[in-house]
Amino acid sequence: MGAVTTRALVDVRADFPVLQREFDGKPVVFLDSAATSQKPVQVIDAMSAYYRTSNSNVHRGVYALAREATELFEGARERVAAFAGTAPTTTIFTGNASGAINLVAYAWGRTNLEPGDEVVVTHMEHHSNIVPWQLVCAERGARLRYLSISETGELSLDEIEDVLAGGRVKLVAVAHVSNVLGTLNPVEEIAARARAAGAVTLVDGAQAMPQMPVDVDRLGVDFYAWTAHKALGPTGIGVLHGRRELLEAMPPFIAGGHMISRVDLESSSWNELPWKFEAGTSPIAEAVGLGAAVDYLQAVGMERVRAHERDLTAYALERLAEVEDIRIFGPLDAEHRGGVVSFAIEGIHAHDIAEICDREAVCIRAGHHCAQPLMRTLGVAATARASFHVYNSREDVDTLVSALHSARKVFEL
């Protein structure tokens, strides 16, 4: 099959300055949005405008500039919460998704996990949803268990029920969309089963929130973590949404300025939600940038973003299958996956595939994608991975496929 050119579902490439770049006269084809997305000029301008016209510290000043910065910062929180379908008071700004998961692992885990309790994760988790649980389980004498994945990279609800039926599970931590396999996990069903078994659920939404409509309250999960920089926003700010009763009962994680209500010599009392969990000066410009990013995504429309990702993923699955001796990981149906496709080509290591793609200015990722347990489950040392966002097109997939044919030629396959 040759290149198919259809009108893009979304055509926003001109909003992204980095995508105007060329390398050796070739326009950049950015297929690594699962690592970090590019930023539209609207986000860059919002952050620049904040520093140029409104910069000051938030919450503390009585002067007009401080009030303005505070309004921008808290206004961003309100829009981010609305974007995620939940309340601003239970929307906590962290450093990134790892920061959000660590907050729960420490502030919730240290006070709720007892020896013999179980924390359940899956074989498809990113290291950031494994390592914090390893540390807190070791500290509390709890057991860390892993849910298996099928050959097409999917979880089994039956297995989840079996594990929950043991009666020792306190928390289930699962990715909404896998950063390697692309699997779209049934987190609403998982959360319902966990709740019925008396366990809480944490969803790592780093890959899902940027590319599909997510209504955190409707999902019924207890904690939902994600990060701005994969959602067209800046680095340096992540988000934790949490169930109010749990957040209120949790002690602070990071201590310092602004998270207190009153400090005495021996002890202190805590600020209200969400500020109890936001010690120190916040990433203010980053919050403004994230606010602009969710405005941008909502202007495109998250249903359209999802339709675009699904179209590109289906197209990529179809076109990649034309490459000889390719192995594509994850669900076969784009309905059940997000906009990320990992693959391996027999006879060429992923690192070499990425190197040859780079010669065509095609940016893909090669390696273990911070998911070493998953690589061992798949029986590979590394995969190559292409991932999409609103600014990608079917032509980008065509360029990738042609680079993969070149790679096979270079390797004389």
């Binding site: 070499d352 190197e355 090669a366 273990h368 040392a381 390797f411």
Partner: protein, 126 residues
């Protein structure tokens, strides 16, 4: 001809010399390159203070595997205590290609495990 993936590099990648297990062996070491997932181990048999025989094992990119294969014949017969005098330039000269900063760790992985096996020091070249 491709400047990086030259025919002899691909030949060593596809048919690496001195690859597999060596039993019995006197020294061994295993390491990986977390950036790209290359894994490489080495078994060494020592006789009279020299590398009498060796086998590399593992999986990785063309550059890491070719570097191991190309250098393996030079390493066999070398006094064990000379291995720690070998440096990055020695490997890159033998590879005979320009190595970009992003591929440097791939190129040096085999010498890293050789040094690990002979000196116990896993820190080189960082």
């Amino acid at each position: 001809m491709d400047a990086l993936y030259r025919d002899y590099i691909l030949e060593h990648y596809k048919n690496p010399r001195n690859f597999g297990e060596l039993e019995p062996h006197d020294l061994e070491f295993h390491d990986h390159n977390p950036l790209c997932g290359d894994e490489l181990g080495v078994h060494i048999r020592v006789e009279d203070g020299k590398v009498a025989d060796l086998r590399f094992n593992g999986q990785g990119c063309a550059i890491s595997q070719a570097a191991a294969s190309i250098t393996s014949d030079e390493l066999i017969g070398m006094p064990v205590d000379r291995v720690e005098d070998l440096d990055a330039d020695w490997v890159i000269d033998q590879l005979g290609i320009d190595i970009s900063p992003t591929r440097r760790k791939c190129a040096l992985l085999s010498l890293k495990v050789m040094r690990g096996a002979t000196t116990g020091d896993a820190s080189w070249p960082d």
